[in-house]
């Protein structure tokens, strides 16, 4: 018993020796320290400000053949949706299409000459919305905007009171589409669907992106930290000293991970702090829950880095391998594209990556106020990845030259 206890104490001492050494080296490595702070800050700015998935202010041209008070009110409503911004008026459809072709506008609203008369007589009026659908995101937003307009008409114009707008996207040649919004007066509004946006009522992109960004940034930085850790020892020649000591493979791996767990949490705090400061990203759940989830995720990424480090012979190779893992991890996790919309096989692959599960934890806890208890499945998936990666890293690292 005493012997076993002593062995454990010695093992722990070696783990701490490695961890302390790593921490000392880290503290003296200005470049890496700058990376730890710089990468999250830069990425946050980039994703928060530049990459915006909200589609607003689509430049729009108007072909108003009616030129009535009603058509002016209608255009006012159109701008009030904030999806469209009226830039110019055109005289003919030819002119409108030319503007679309030159990408000077993204949409054209065509109001028929007999708008007032048709409405007075209680017949449907066809208002056309020509949309440049070469960018699907813009097209989808325009479609929604069109529907919104239909609802707005129904709500604010008496003649539309009991009707609903139906919309269809009619493909035009050369990748364009025409949206036809037709108030269907023959059919009374049978079902009222009330859409209530939960959690992110203004539907702002940063609120959605920042929690995910925590995971993406941790994937990149944490994996690189350890991916380079063993290769660097190999390149500098210190590995030959290290493997001639009694340190065990597992001890080396755990010792290399420990200091970066702290670093990872510093990054989490940094991103959330900046997110709250710059983009009003809320923290609805418990930070402790998030920290616990992040701990598992960070450890998993560090272990993945060690797997790479044990396989790579040079730092350059390690970098390449890290990016090879990083890219599908980001694309299939649901960070950028909705996970549920991906094809099944892609989802299965996506489920392997810890980022997929961490995103659910981060978004759940931060945006929805979920508790970690309700997300135990996700934590378990990350823990399983961590265990496998740690074993693979340990087994594939040989104490040989």
């Amino acid at each position: 018993m005493r012997g076993a206890a002593q062995a454990v104490a010695r093992s722990l001492r070696r783990v701490l020796a490695i961890a302390r050494k790593e921490l000392r080296q880290l503290a003296r490595d200005r470049l890496t320290l700058a990376m730890i702070v710089g990468i999250p800050t830069l990425q946050l700015m980039l994703f928060g400000y530049a990459i915006n998935l909200d589609v607003r202010d689509i430049p729009t041209a108007v072909l108003d053949r009616s030129r009535s008070a009603l058509s002016r009110r209608l255009l006012g409503e159109l701008e009030a949706t904030q999806t469209f911004r009226i830039r110019t008026e055109v005289r003919s459809e030819v002119e409108a299409v030319r503007l679309l072709e030159r990408s000077e506008v993204g949409a054209v609203v065509v109001i028929p000459p007999d708008l007032d008369r048709r409405i007075e007589r209680g017949r449907g009026a066809e208002i056309s919305l020509l949309v440049d659908a070469s960018n699907p995101t813009t097209a989808a937003a325009a479609l929604l905007g069109g529907e919104g307009l239909g609802h707005a008409l129904a709500a604010r114009f008496r003649p539309f009171a009991a009707t609903t707008g139906s919309a269809a996207l009619r493909p035009l040649p050369e990748g364009r589409a025409q949206l036809v919004a037709t108030p269907d007066l023959a059919r009374p509004d049978p079902i009222q669907i009330a859409v209530l946006p939960f959690y992110n009522p203004e539907r702002r992109t940063p609120v959605f992106i920042v929690p995910g960004l925590v995971g993406v940034i941790l994937t990149m930085t944490m994996m690189l930290m350890t991916a380079l850790a063993i290769v660097r020892e190999r390149e500098r020649g210190t590995l030959e000293f290290l493997i001639a000591t009694p340190v065990r493979r597992g001890e080396l791996m755990v010792g290399k991970i420990l200091p970066y767990l702290v670093v990872g949490h510093v990054q989490v705090a940094l991103i959330l702090g900046l997110g709250a400061l710059l983009f009003d990203v809320p923290v609805h759940g418990s930070l402790l829950d998030l920290g616990a989830g992040a701990a598992a995720f960070i450890a998993g990424m560090l272990a993945m880095g060690l797997v790479i480090s044990a396989a790579a012979r040079t730092q350059f190779q390690a970098m390449q391998m890290a990016f090879f893992f990083f890219l599908p991890s980001m694309l299939l996790s649901g960070f950028m594209f909705p996970f549920d919309a991906m094809p099944r096989p892609a989802q299965w692959i996506g489920l392997v990556f810890p980022l997929t599960h961490f995103l659910r934890i981060a978004r759940g806890v931060l945006l929805k106020g979920a508790t970690l208890e309700s997300l135990l499945g996700e934590v378990a998936a990350i823990a399983a990845f961590l265990a496998v990666a740690l074993v693979v890293a340990t087994l594939s690292f040989r104490k040989r030259l």
Partner: protein, 326 residues
């Protein structure tokens, strides 16, 4: 102090072989290193010294043959061996971004010394190697000689029973090398077995026993004196004329294997299977007289390790002459 074979042998190898692809780096080496001796490994670059040492430490797997180090079968028992071995690599392999003291402390910690013992040993190492004034200095800022001191201090922080040093004094000034060897003798006196590789003759002479390697094979083994004895009667010094002139005149003589200038004498290694030192000396003097150097005289001289080294490089086998005395 550590588990040995019990027969006073710290390292024993039989037919130890390592191939890298088609190249045979170490080829069927038999060795027996006694406990407490300073055992030298001498050989030109690429003769397999480092590979041999790495196999003994379990850092490389042998392609064939067996090695027993301090009673541990290598590489099977490598982990059991580690706490008893200190290893100083050819290239500086401590952390350049850590200070002298931090490196020593890390070495002590990784070898499992308790906090108190570690403090004692680190202080002793700083004092003993004169590293005290540099304790807070980053290792990167140390010169070659000081790095070497630090490396030795780190390799011995846990008082290993076996110390393996791979060309520890390469690129170090003579004064530092001298001090370094004094420390090695101190360790040997305290019972440490030292295995050291070198290609400096003056260091090889200091070893208790030597093994010479040539192209991965053991070419000779024995004490420096035994090795030199193998060349008894094969070495002459030519005096009385300028050494350059004598060497020029004697080049091409069938009696001569190799010549070198030592001060004002020409040091001649006679070809093997010659007529004996006396007759050869007469022969050389005759050749020199013919070449217009009548004042030359030749007399038998002590063979040195360099002669042995040169003879080995010329392809002679001295292994049978010295014999394995262990």
């Amino acid at each position: 102090m550590t588990p040995h074979g019990g027969d006073g042998i710290a390292i024993r190898t039989r037919g130890l072989t390592r191939r890298f692809g088609d190249r045979v780096a170490v080829d069927g080496v038999d060795l027996a290193v006694r406990s407490g001796e300073i055992f030298g490994c001498l050989g030109p670059n690429g003769s397999g010294k480092s590979t041999l040492m790495r196999m003994l430490l379990g850092l490389l797997e042998p392609s064939a043959g067996v090695a027993t180090v301090l009673g541990c079968e290598m590489p099977r028992d490598a982990e059991r061996l580690r706490p008893s071995v200190g290893y100083m690599t050819q290239r500086f392999s401590l952390y350049e971004d850590l200070s002298v003291e931090e490196n020593l402390d890390f070495a002590g910690e990784i070898f499992g010394l308790s906090r108190r013992r570690r403090r004692e040993r680190v202080e002793a190492a700083l004092d003993g190697h004169g590293l005290g004034p540099w304790r807070r200095q980053r290792a990167a800022a140390l010169s070659g000689g000081w790095k070497q001191r630090l490396a030795l201090a780190a390799a011995t922080i846990h008082e290993p029973a076996l110390l393996v040093l791979d060309e520890p004094t390469a690129g170090v000034d003579p004064q530092s090398r001298r001090e370094f060897w004094e420390r090695l003798f101190g360790l040997a006196v305290a019972g440490t077995t030292v295995l050291v590789s070198t290609h400096y003759m003056d260091e090889a002479v200091r070893c208790h026993r030597l093994c010479m390697l040539r192209e991965g094979r053991r070419a000779a083994i024995g004490t420096p004196r035994e090795l030199a004895q193998a060349l008894r009667g094969r070495v002459l010094d030519v005096r009385g004329v300028s050494p350059e002139a004598a060497i020029a005149a004697l080049s091409g003589s069938a009696l001569v294997a190799s010549m070198t200038q030592l001060g004002d004498t020409a040091h001649v290694l006679l070809a093997p299977g010659g007529p004996g030192a006396q007759r050869a000396a007469e022969g050389l003097v005759r050749v020199l007289a013919h070449a217009g150097l009548p004042d030359a005289s030749a007399s038998a001289a002590e063979a040195n390790l360099e002669d042995v080294f040169v003879a080995l490089l010329l392809g002679e086998s001295l292994d049978s002459c010295a014999g394995e005395s262990a």
